[in-house]
Symmetry: C2
Amino acid sequence: MAIRVGLVGTGTVGGGCIDIILKHADDFKRHYGIDIELARVCSLDSREAEAHGVGHLFTDNFRDIIDDPAIDLVIELIGGTTFARTVVIDALNAGKNVVTANKALMATYGQEVMETAERNGREIAFEASVGGGIPIIGPLKHSLIANEITSVMGIVNGTTNYMLTRMDEDGMDYDAVLAEAQAKGFAEANPSADVDGYDAAAKIAILASIAFNSRVTIDDVYTRGITNITPIDLEAARDMGYVVKLLAIAHRTDRGIDVRVHPTMIPAEHQMAKVNGVFNAIYVTGDFVGETMFFGEGAGAGAAASAVMGDVLEVARHMQQGIAPIVGCTCTDELPILPIEELSMKYYIRFSVADRPGVLAAMAGVFAKRGVSVHSVVQRGQKSGGTVEIVYVTHTAEERAIREVIEEIRSLDDVLHGDPSLIRVEE
Amino acid sequence: MAIRVGLVGTGTVGGGCIDIILKHADDFKRHYGIDIELARVCSLDSREAEAHGVGHLFTDNFRDIIDDPAIDLVIELIGGTTFARTVVIDALNAGKNVVTANKALMATYGQEVMETAERNGREIAFEASVGGGIPIIGPLKHSLIANEITSVMGIVNGTTNYMLTRMDEDGMDYDAVLAEAQAKGFAEANPSADVDGYDAAAKIAILASIAFNSRVTIDDVYTRGITNITPIDLEAARDMGYVVKLLAIAHRTDRGIDVRVHPTMIPAEHQMAKVNGVFNAIYVTGDFVGETMFFGEGAGAGAAASAVMGDVLEVARHMQQGIAPIVGCTCTDELPILPIEELSMKYYIRFSVADRPGVLAAMAGVFAKRGVSVHSVVQRGQKSGGTVEIVYVTHTAEERAIREVIEEIRSLDDVLHGDPSLIRVEE
């Protein structure tokens, strides 16, 4: 029995999926007895389907896939949470299994999608939604389940990791490196989802939900991007033995789930510090397995298509063997999400301030007043246009107090030029 | 329906499995609906079972487990290929599913074990046989199957990686670092399986079989250990921008499978070069996924027990849902194994030779005669007792020619003191 697949979305990843099926369908039969047939492809424009040699399967109406009783499995690769949500929900309700790479959908409407799948006795698989081609959802749902997972930390956005790597290695400033990333196709024309951290936030919400058996949505994730980071920060970090990464962090604590995305200093000798360029890595700690890391290409046609098609083959394998979904929703606990204000850690804060007498004393007074103990304060870089860069590193302090410090320094007679650069330290 | 588990072997890993069940059995029920009951434990001595709080389940006769119709699943953790083979085969023939961490068994009698499982309609799972707690067999059998895997390379022996790391970082010589590893419990009293590469050979045989869909046994693996490596070699490697690792390598080539274990120079910037101490890492390259790496603790009670219990829970999940084995043997091709003599690569060779006039000229003559082009030759380290260390690095050469060179230099009027140190270069 061939499993008939309908593909919705023929962009980069969809094209990769078509290529895999055309190249390896015979291998799948021979090695695994899995018989996959690409039955229909849908997008707004037929040219991509034609370019991949499947123009004859093209439709521009996704209902031709949802309403076709001969189609067993739908791959959703259009992204976003509006149209894609309709495709996924309607496909499940039409009795089809669904594979998606849609992180925003799963991090926002994951519960609705999972419940719809369960109600219909169908599978929803989404390995490609996190970490491109890196197997991480599979290991978390299978190989690692004997553990209580205590933390998941990831470099899960290749665009920002590429940008930070370039800034660090070549001293380029933010605007130049963004322009370069856009020219190379690593960053979108509107880069907000990447540089503001929302892409990473969706991914850590998905990982935290699975790892901690408790629903985390994108709105639960405290999220800050890299737009205030400059080469000065990366150089200062290096001098202190750290590397700056846009880290997606989820810790299980006694009081609930600590989940956030922000620029983070990690020790230079940590395995994650060595993950550079567009590569992704996810670091998982469990009470028995200890520390593990999953590394690979986080984006690109081939890598993401590998993950999508891995899911397709697994679901097809189950269908051919007449197996009902093996693992459904595992969010059996309801752990609270910790407000970031209540967390305590070390902070790196760089202020651009007017080079005027008394400014340093006034700032020191604010730290003292709020009870934030300062580990070091140094002036870095060249004075420029009457502005100097003052870098503070604190001892462990409460986030709430740090915010009060920043707020009060902002109000100090117009000493602050622009937003401070705030980098949290993860030991 | 509780799945009743019989555990054979209560050493380090077995103890870890008991600890996981005692700590997490309720979590497994709540999160996954998997009901695990430890029904019986077997070893030669009851003290370990008692130390882990399950003395009441002890037997010293494994037949009490195999012959007990109420036991559904057997965990084999005694190791080796004699008694363990009987336990595994008999358990499968008695209609039980089996989980094992036994790399030697799977790399030697894998086909017999797989066929016995298939004949009985039972599962055999062995994630813990490679890479300790690192999920690697699961990803290769599931998430990555949309790829043609082109290579698998691993640092899969923590003992030798610890020893090489110590030699590199602290300049300790082989004997001192082996003694230290033994004192710390990282190396056995008889260290041969680790330092001579056999442990790594079994692991790469297992990984290559799965990755290439073609049976590879331990006897197919060309295997050399680290006993001739000295700090001089590690220092020379560093000066050239390389790091020395005991690498287990499997490449798919047009002519067949290239599979081997030996000390290997890899570029210092490669992700694997940064895997130090007792950690393991497996680097997998596929035609669509590109490069991925799986990193973690390769040994220790908790890590290996995490992998064993991950398998146990997966098999239990299948049993409770009435599912037959999902993935059996996938060795559907019969690819030839390439003899190492036919491979070509770059070589690092260090000879300890008598400090006599004409020796260098004679050696140079041998390289020239055999058509091996030399990239560099330098004398390293201090002259000691009339012996000097001469380090050659070749351009790409055929293994067969390199062996002839070494053989002939050995015969040069007694110039050679001891075995040369031969390190292959993997770019």
